[in-house]
């Protein structure tokens, strides 16, 4: 692997990636048509900034009256000191917004990714092994059908089923507002109850995607030499299934999981929207709609760093799983 031999080159490339990212999150929002100060207008109430002089003052307040290079310098300077700026549409510090939204996203994404990876690993191997049999067909058709339902429809149906028709779970949010819980455990249970439906939706749809990939790749390695060898050696079935076949198929699965992080991070937008879950997805979507440059810059950068970090972990895991791919 190139990175191993030339750490300097690798570091330079990583630095370059980061730098490009910083430029991108600055430039991309500003390339969008639309006016960030329009976020202060309120069509529903009929309120708008109608005074040109006030407009100038507010622009100056947010530093948007300066030429782009100076705005960029201010942005990079802020980053260096850990200051992500001030949201125009939410009238709050971006770092505070990220700190308030990110934990909910991690709480939703982390378990969803782990659960779906584990489920699809096991199900994928079993289905491939019993390819063509009833179990495989049921899993294939079932999960394909599941994956074939848009997340927001699935979320809506689950919501109607378990929060409206059979009202056992909360209709939305991440916790009951202002509830006074007797103990920490009760508060935890409250958070858990709110997490069930969003987590189920996301896990189901991630599992469906990963399962198909896992099944595909296990099918592909079943005929490989080491599998034939393992069978010839008379190794136990479970060992052949989950160690030999599974290990070979783990590499593509891990790659796919790495990809799912980025998708889940923003794909959760739908789930968050239906369940009014206060994660990063809703923060970003609103920021896009409002052209809230500071939030877009700050939140995208944080999210991008999270995705980069997870991908790095996946890369390391892939090297550990398949040392041959790193040895050449």
């Amino acid at each position: 692997m190139a990175e191993r031999r030339r750490p300097a080159v690798s570091a330079a490339l990583s630095g370059l990636t980061l730098a490009a990212l910083v430029v991108l999150v600055f430039a991309l929002p500003r390339a969008l048509p639309g006016d960030p100060l329009a976020a202060l207008d309120d069509p529903t109430s009929g309120v708008a900034i109608t005074d040109p002089e006030l407009r100038e003052r507010v622009l100056a307040h947010y530093g948007l009256d300066q030429p782009l290079p100076e705005q960029f310098a201010g942005y990079v300077g802020g980053l260096a000191t850990g200051d992500l700026g001030w949201s125009i549409a939410r009238n709050a510090p971006v770092s505070g917004l990220v700190a308030a939204h990110l934990p909910w996203t991690l709480l939703l994404m982390g378990p969803a990714l782990l659960l779906s990876t584990a489920a699809s690993y096991v199900l994928g191997i079993l289905a491939a092994w019993h390819r063509g049999r009833t179990g495989d067909r049921v899993a294939l058709v079932g999960l394909t059908a599941l994956r074939a339902i848009p997340e927001y429809v699935l979320a809506t149906l689950l919501l109607i089923a378990f929060a409206v028709l059979l009202p056992v779970l909360p209709v939305g949010g991440a916790r009951t507002p202002f509830a006074e819980h007797g103990s920490g455990l009760a508060a935890l249970a409250d958070v858990g109850a709110h997490l069930v439906l969003p987590l189920a939706t996301l896990t189901l749809s991630l599992t469906a995607t990963l399962f198909l990939l896992q099944r595909h790749t296990v099918v592909a390695v079943l005929g490989a030499d080491h599998m034939l060898l393992a069978e010839a050696k008379g190794l136990p079935l479970r060992r052949r299934q989950f160690v030999h076949a599974g290990r070979s198929a783990l590499l593509p699965l891990l790659t796919a999981v790495g990809l799912q992080v980025a998708f889940a991070a923003q794909g959760a937008v739908f789930v968050e929207a239906v369940f009014a879950y206060p994660g990063m997805g809703s923060l970003l979507l609103e920021a896009v709609a409002a052209r809230d440059y500071p939030v877009l810059e700050g939140a995208f950068l944080v999210l991008a760093l999270v995705v980069l970090a997870v991908n790095l972990l996946v890369d390391l895991a892939a090297r550990w799983v398949d040392p041959r791919s790193a040895a050449s």
Binding site: P33, L40, P43, T50, L54, V58, A89, R90, N91, F178
Partner: protein, 582 residues
């Protein structure tokens, strides 16, 4: 929980639709029949999980019984910033800041201006001097006395200090007012001297949309007010104090400030709870009142189902969807006959029936909501249909010469234009409008863009025809001046419309010292607008709400205050009534 509710002549504004004939246990509240609502409501238990411990014990026998204290009222929340005078966001944020900070005057649900921090006020005959007398014993939450000097400071902090750079609504109103000077005559008397009379002064400076009064001893040395979030930033004089705010979730909890100058508020806690779908949350017991979103058609089946368990309140709306024609786009948009033809061709009653499922009304051609007290009567409604439209279009030379079913411009060029619309609203509206215009041979293609893009194009006038939604048609009629005169500044401004008489009348109504003079100017102004039609108000959705009358039952819309909705005028929370006895 009934009490006599004073209804002024504006009571006609409050229309409640009764849908509970079949719903035996349902309670339907009607402004003409409050006693029934109270009695019915008393039979309904407070909501399921017992969180809203509204007093539902049915012991309220007569209108004279003192309203019982409501422990907690749960309303729909959202991310509207921090409820400090400069940290809130847009109209709904202003409502929340308004719980903590008071204005001199306020407004009841009849649209009447009522005393608030000021116990009385007077305006000189020339309309230039406004004198307010503050209530005795007005105090800040920290116990410091609230004086006329604080009021003066509140104004100067915006007009001359750092407050003017905050992009919150009340700052814009104060800066836009022709105020020469604000001075304290004594501890309790404050005088505003104007450069010219301002008819909307009570609303835009002293009242509902006006200046939040802030304590000088806190803000005196604050340089960056929007970002000031210390504990002191939440010290106001209002009836509530902020207890908890979850920025990410959009939840707020306010508790009553018992030492408020108007007395201990009736509602002990006002909680704003984030929900996705208000009627659904109400049905689950997570809210005490659910307001139906704008443009949301509500089928009878849903109203019936909800009316079985909840009371229904429906009032005429304050928001409209309007068709703007940019006169700068040239022929035929600059032709009055063309704009009138559009008005004939678009069946606005059909739009109400389809988009709102009948819960709303066609807009007034004069530019104000039909329910606005200032809305003129007897304006043309342009109900001539396709025939009348065709006649006008033919007269302009817009004819279908080649017989393909579509009209061409007089020079034979095809007439095909885009209809700008925002994806913020129902995207079927432009489709319906295009379909109706197709019936008279006008080829119009919806051009729906994402909200920020559409707003920017609307503001800049980059359109020939645009559908624009806004909620100021129920507001003070000075909005007509902002919309139709001067350089267009807001997304809701008319483009390319210049009319000397309109300019004159707009100025006259703005400076009118008495209501009759103002009404005369506004009637003529609206008559001209209804004739010229640079903007055609298409429809105004009703404000529809469902609530648990056992928890609280004083819900009503406040004219000129869309963010007040049916449940967020703080007057209701303070007194439990929809008006303030003077």
């Amino acid at each position: 929980m009934t009490r006599p509710t004073r209804r002024s002549s504006l009571a006609g504004l409050l229309v409640v639709l009764v849908v509970a004939l079949l719903a035996c246990e349902g309670a339907v509240r009607s402004p003409d029949d409050d006693a029934t609502a109270g009695a019915e409501g008393a039979r309904i238990d407070a909501d399921a999980d017992g969180q809203a411990a509204g007093d539902a014990d049915g012991d309220d026998v007569g209108g004279d019984a003192a309203p019982a204290r409501v422990d907690r009222l749960r309303l729909a929340g959202g991310q509207w910033g921090s409820p400090t005078p400069f940290g809130y966001v847009r109209g709904p944020g202003m409502i929340k800041a308004g719980l903590v900070f008071d204005t001199l005057l306020w407004r009841d649900v009849d649209g009447e201006t009522i005393p608030w921090l000021a116990e009385s006020w007077e305006v000189a005959d020339d309309g230039l001097t406004w004198r307010f007398t503050l209530r005795e014993d007005a105090r800040w939450h920290d116990g410091e006395p609230l004086t006329a000097a604080d009021v003066v400071f509140s104004h100067d902090y915006i007009a001359e200090g750092p407050g003017g750079a905050a992009g919150v609504p009340h700052v814009g109103r104060v800066l836009g007012a022709p105020i020469a000077e604000v001075a304290a005559e004594d501890e309790r008397t404050v005088v505003f001297e104007l450069e010219e009379p301002m008819a909307s002064f009570e609303t835009d400076v002293a009242g509902l949309w006006g200046m939040l009064v802030i304590p000088e001893h806190v803000w005196g040395d604050v340089e960056d007010p929007a970002r000031y979030r210390d504990d002191d930033a939440f010290v106001g004089s209002g009836p509530y104090r902020l207890v908890e705010h979850d920025e990410a979730a959009g939840s707020y909890l306010f508790e009553a400030h018992d030492a408020h100058v108007l007395g201990s508020p009736l509602v002990g806690e006002v909680a704003f709870v984030p929900v996705d779908d208000e009627p659904r949350a109400l049905a689950r017991g997570a809210l005490d009142v659910a307001e139906v979103a704008l443009e949301q058609g509500v089928p009878e089946a849903q109203v019936d189902a909800l009316a079985a368990d909840f009371a229904v309140v429906e009032e005429r709306g304050q928001w409209n969807m309007a068709l703007h024609t940019n006169l700068e786009a040239g022929f035929p948009f600059d032709e009055r006959a063309f704009r009138q033809a559009l008005a004939h061709a678009i069946d606005r009653a059909d739009l109400v029936d389809r988009l709102l499922l009948g819960r709303g009304e066609p807009g007034s051609t004069g530019g104000l909501a039909p329910a606005n007290a200032w809305s003129a009567d007897g304006l043309p409604a342009y109900e001539g249909g396709p025939e009348a439209a065709a006649e006008l279009l033919d007269g302009l030379g817009l004819v279908d010469a080649d017989g393909d079913g579509w009209r061409q411009l007089p020079d034979g060029e095809p007439f095909a234009i885009d209809l700008l619309a925002s994806a913020r609203y129902d995207t079927r509206t432009p489709e319906l409008v295009a379909e109706q215009l197709a019936k008279v041979g006008l080829a119009v293609e919806p051009d729906v863009r994402d909200p920020a893009d559409a707003d920017e194009r609307a503001r800049a006038g980059e359109y020939a025809l645009a559908l624009i939604g806004y909620g100021d048609v129920g507001a003070d009629p000075d909005v007509l001046r902002l919309r139709y005169t001067g350089e267009p500044q807001a997304f809701s401004a008319a483009h390319g419309f210049a009319h000397e008489r309109v300019d004159e009348l707009a100025e006259r109504q703005r400076r009118a010292v008495d209501d009759d003079e103002r009404a005369a100017a506004l009637d003529e102004l609206q008559a001209i607008l209804a004739e010229e039609l640079p903007v055609l108000s298409l429809y105004v959705p009703s404000q529809l709400g469902f609530f648990d009358p056992g928890a609280f039952d004083a819900f009503a819309a406040t004219p000129g205050c869309p963010p007040c909705g049916l449940s967020r005028n703080k007057l209701m929370h303070v007194t439990g009534a929809t008006t303030l006895e003077r």
